[in-house]
């Protein structure tokens, strides 16, 4: 209806939403950088597999298109729909995480059951679980706000849910994603208003659990400690990390130039997925690293700021979803970058919106779409509040469910 009268002044119909432009710029910027860097870093691996140098570019474009489609749908879907269906979605998350243990359906790769075999393609359920967790947590925080803020017991339920998810993830095992789920849950509960004392109380029993998980299997313990001194075993435990550090060290200030990375040429494993940041560091240098981290900071900062506005303006669900998704993006980016820089134990986590990977790309795009939708609804609420201040009668008219008010026409 708005589009029809583009050449004419359009009557103001009521409060209008808008997507946060800076967030959009940051997300599109990250996806663009990702497309370029996936192309650059995957050439060697594509070439050695005889798939043509641009095989991964084509597939990445495909996933990005799927992601854009998902994001587009999410951006046009009322968040209320998600809020209402939080429980079925949570059930779906559990089902997906359990499905990886079903023989033939769940796929075992490199000793981990993280993938589902969907016939034509494989799917990593944890990417969907991340979004569902945020939606569930947001809906719980909205529903049980009072008990969260005052009662210790109010905390137990969401943390139990998160805990079960973590246990299922650890069974895969996917230590990195488990960490992500834990930190994002704690972050959301914290922003949701839980008392610090309760949070600490909840956090304490998690510590031995984490320790047990870390020491439970020797390879994980080795991985946990080997990052401290990768040069001790540069050809075994520290292999990936030393290659990554060498790549980043070669980058200096401005990098060796786009496409000129040497370490991506069959030296650095997973150069186009988990270790794409090292290739960015080598080819684009410190400038590139700061640029990428700046884009993440912009996206996360705008997401958190909009979320805060949303909470303040009463759009609590949208606000919490914005918090959760921003935190998820932030934490995943921090862990991935930290792993690449050798500041954190080596984990298999993708750099969101940049790394190659079907499930990760599509569902991160979907997540970004939900985040954008949240900003849209928050902006709409802000617009409505402004309208209410300036033209109370207009708001009243809206409340009276009247369609057209010629007097309140505003230039579109």
């Amino acid at each position: 209806m708005f589009g029809l009268g583009a050449s004419q002044a359009v009557k103001r119909q009521g409060p209008r939403g808008s997507f946060d432009p800076w967030l959009l710029v940051a997300l599109v910027g990250l996806a663009s950088v990702g497309l370029v860097m996936v192309t650059s870093s995957s050439i060697a691996v594509a070439d050695s597999g005889n798939m043509g140098a641009f095989y991964y570019l084509k597939k990445d474009l495909l996933f990005l298109s799927l992601g854009a489609l998902a994001a587009g749908v999410a951006m046009r879907t009322e968040l209320k729909l998600l809020e209402k269906n939080a429980f079925p979605l949570l059930a779906l998350a559990f089902a997906l995480l359990l499905a990886v243990f079903v023989p033939h359906f769940g796929m075992r790769l490199n000793g981990a059951r993280r993938w589902l075999n969907l016939g034509v393609t494989s799917f990593q359920p944890v990417e969907a679980v991340k979004l569902i967790l945020v939606v569930y947590m947001a809906s719980y925080l909205v529903r049980r706000r009072d008990s969260i803020e005052t009662e210790f017991l109010g905390l137990i339920k969401p943390l139990m849910v998160a805990g079960i998810l973590v246990v299922l993830l650890l069974l895969q095992p996917d230590f990195g994603s488990a960490m992500l789920v834990i930190t994002v849950t704690i972050g959301m509960v914290w922003l949701g208003g839980a008392r610090p004392v309760y949070l600490c109380g909840m956090g304490l029993p998690l510590m031995p659990l984490l320790y047990m998980a870390a020491t439970g299997e020797s390879y994980r313990m080795k991985r946990l400690t080997s990052f401290m001194n990768p040069w001790e075993h540069p050809f075994t435990d520290g292999f990936q990390l030393t290659q990554s550090l060498m790549a980043i060290g070669r980058g200096e200030w401005t990098g060796v130039g786009l496409g000129s990375s040497v370490l991506k040429l069959s030296y650095l494993p997973e150069a186009h997925t988990d270790f794409i940041f090292a290739v960015i560091g080598e080819e684009l240098g410190l400038v590139g690293i700061v640029l990428v981290m700046g884009l993440f900071a912009l996206a996360v900062g705008r997401g958190l700021a909009m979320g805060l506005k949303g909470v303040e303006v009463g759009q609590r669900f949208a606000g919490y979803v914005a918090f959760g998704i921003s935190l998820m993006l932030a934490m995943q980016a921090i862990v991935s970058v930290g792993v690449n820089l050798g500041a954190l134990p080596t984990k298999g986590l993708t750099l969101p919106l940049i790394s190659y990977g079907g499930s990760s790309m599509a569902l991160t795009c979907a997540m970004a779409g939900v985040l954008l939708r949240a900003t849209w609804e928050i902006n709409r609420a802000l617009d409505a509040r402004q309208m209410a201040k300036r033209m109370p009668e207009a708001v009243a008219a809206v409340d009276a469910n009247d369609t057209a008010r010629p007097r309140e026409a505003v230039a579109a």
Binding site: K80, G249, L263, S266, A343, R380
Partner: protein, 622 residues
């Protein structure tokens, strides 16, 4: 489209429902947000600091580690210099070949491709796989060295991971076994192992350059950074060898060996004025382009490394000593050889036929052992030894050929009388065919000795070792040997006067001399009138058809040198008459006119007029 209304409507109501809570939440959420943003910001700052540390502060360490992994200095192969003959015909050329190498781990990871690889390489898949597994800890193993470029390209076109090609050069010898012994061979790394390839390896090989490259994780070179050392290509070498004469020598020698079922043979052709070796053939030979299966006995360059007792060819040097002593001239005094037997210290020195009284020239012409021994016994031992020595016997010629033998000549003061006597006709000492050729070349060049050389234009200043007059007299005396009915008649070359000496010696075997195997020698100078070329032919161990040097070796000399003088455009002796009467066909080739005139042909032997056909008469004189 109207959905937003549902969302916005309850807002004011909710705002009213719990105003106290709302007011409290606002600043609280902000404060909590400050903490979250602060933590995230601090972590981000920490990561940027870490990146700064890696990329700016400690970059050297990481770059050094990186360089150690992918920077490599690789050699820039240089081709070995070509070896040419004196006319610029290639004798040894380097052709590009490709060696196939593999990274075992990478190839084994694609073991399904091994059968295809084995098929292209022409090997057994299991064998290749086993070979690779045994070497799986290496990064580089050769699968096949030196494949023809097309075949190697076919292998590389399979595009099997871990299989790579490396360009190399392989030596190819167009004239194969004909020049095998002179040139020798190179090993698989293109370094000389034998022959002139070894002697001039430094000159031919050049110096491979090296360049710094970046290799990817699979060993492929992805970028060339800089040249560390400029390649110095091998230099070409032009030999003194004449391919045409070499082929003739090889061919004639081979035919003769076949004809007489002889075990081995060798021939040396030299330019008398420069010491340049024009041809050097040895048999049996081998194919240097396919070394596998060749035996050491085939690989020896007999002309330089094998020694032989020179037999009667040594008499020329006995006579050189005699003439130098001043006691003898070519015609006097007369030497009594009696019935051809001279019992000396219990040894029967004997001639093949009784010769009666001979002039010193006649001793050579008739090849009288008794005469030579008697002459020797009148000579001072040290003069005889010094003369032999001066002609180079017992010393390497200095040709520079690897493994050249110096022969054997005992020190003169140790000579017992019998030794001295038999040494006069070529027993009790060893010479190489090359030494003998060089000694005859010295006689031919007026007593000037040159160092034999294989390099064209490597003209060392000669040393005068005997007086020119003695040398010229010797040439004339030797010319009588090839007269009709003389021992060396078979060495004659139509239109060219030949001076030379036959030789036949019993082969030395363990415990003495073999009764029935001989060395058949001929050493000759052509044209005798104006010496240009010298050749020595040695045939060992004939088993049928004869064994005298004049029978076996002289025809080889004739055939080869007949071709050589034509190839080298050496004018015939009687060329002046060709323009007058025109050539006519004579026995065995062109001769000047119907019958040789009785008067000496127009030649320019300066000292002693010794017309070719008159010589035997002189020799037969009592």
């Amino acid at each position: 489209m109207m959905k937003w209304r549902d969302r916005t409507r309850p807002q004011p109501q909710r705002a009213k429902s719990s105003p106290g809570r709302r007011r409290g939440t606002g600043p609280s959420a902000r404060r909590r947000m400050v903490l979250v943003v602060g933590v995230l910001g601090l972590i981000s700052l920490g990561l940027v600091a870490r990146a700064f540390d890696l990329q700016v502060v400690r970059k050297q360490f990481y770059q050094k580690q990186g360089d150690a992994r992918f920077l490599r200095e690789v050699p820039i192969p240089v081709s070995r210099g070509t070896i040419f003959d004196r006319n610029g015909e290639p004798l040894a050329v380097s052709t590009p070949v490709t060696s196939i190498w593999a990274n075992p781990a990478e190839l084994l990871a694609n073991s399904d491709r091994i059968p295809a690889l084995a098929k292209a390489l022409g090997g057994d898949p299991q064998q290749i796989e086993q070979y690779l597994e045994q070497r799986s800890d290496r990064e580089f193993v050769y699968l096949r060295r030196q494949m023809p470029p097309e075949a190697a390209q076919a292998v590389l076109d399979l595009d099997i991971p871990g299989v790579n090609g490396q360009r190399e050069f392989k030596r190819f010898y167009p004239s194969g076994e004909v020049t095998a012994h002179i040139l020798g061979v190179t090993n698989i790394d293109d370094h000389g192992q034998e022959g002139l390839e070894l002697a001039y390896d430094d000159w031919l090989a050049g110096k491979p350059g090296s360049k710094r490259v970046i290799r990817d994780g699979k060993g492929h070179v992805v970028a060339e950074l800089e040249q560390v050392r400029a390649p110095k290509p091998g230099q070409n070498l032009t030999l003194s060898i004449d391919r045409g004469i070499q082929f003739l020598a090889y061919h004639e020698l081979k035919n003769t060996l076949d004809k007489y079922s002889a075990a081995s043979g060798s021939m040396v052709v030299m330019d008398v004025h420069t010491g340049e070796i024009l041809a050097m053939a040895s048999l049996p030979t081998y194919n240097p382009n396919a070394l596998a299966g060749s035996k050491p006995v085939q690989r020896r360059n007999r002309a330089a490394t094998d020694v032989v007792e020179p037999g009667s060819t040594m008499k020329a040097f006995t006579l050189a000593a005699a003439l130098s002593s001043g006691k003898y001239t070519p015609t006097s005094p007369a030497i009594e050889t009696g019935n051809g037997h001279w019992f000396f210290y219990g040894h029967d020195i004997h001639d093949d036929d009784p010769n009666g009284t001979l002039t010193p020239t006649g001793v050579l012409t008739r090849s009288s052992n008794v005469g030579a021994a008697k002459i020797a016994m009148t000579l001072d031992t040290s003069l005889m030894y010094d003369t032999y020595r001066a002609f180079g016997f017992g010393n390497s010629t200095g040709s520079g050929f690897p493994g050249e033998s110096s022969g054997l000549l005992r020190v003169g003061r140790d000579w017992r009388p019998l030794e001295k006597a038999i040494m006069a006709y070529g027993y009790g000492l060893n010479v190489t065919p090359l030494q003998l050729a060089n000694a005859y070349a010295t006689i031919a060049d007026g007593g000037v000795m040159h160092t034999p050389t294989f390099i064209k234009g490597d003209d060392s200043p000669g040393r005068q070792i005997i007086s020119p007059q003695v040398a010229h007299e010797l040439v004339s005396m030797l010319e009588t040997v090839t007269g009709p009915n003389s021992t060396g008649a078979n060495a004659r070359i139509a239109n060219y006067s030949v001076a030379g000496k036959t030789g036949t010696s019993h082969q030395a075997i363990a415990g003495g001399y073999s009764k029935d195997t001989y060395n058949s020698l001929f050493a000759g100078i052509v044209p005798a009138s104006n010496p240009q070329l010298v050749a020595v032919v040695v045939v060992n161990g004939t088993t049928k058809g004869g064994y005298f040097g004049g029978t076996v070796s002289a025809p080889v000399f004739s055939a080869v040198m007949g071709g050589a003088v034509r190839l080298l455009d050496i004018p015939p002796d009687n060329i002046g008459r060709w323009y007058v009467g025109g050539p006519l066909q004579g026995n065995g080739g062109l001769v000047g006119s119907q019958t040789p005139p009785p008067q000496p042909s127009a030649n320019d032997v300066p000292v002693h007029e010794a017309p070719v056909d008159e010589a035997p008469a002189e020799g037969n004189a009592p």
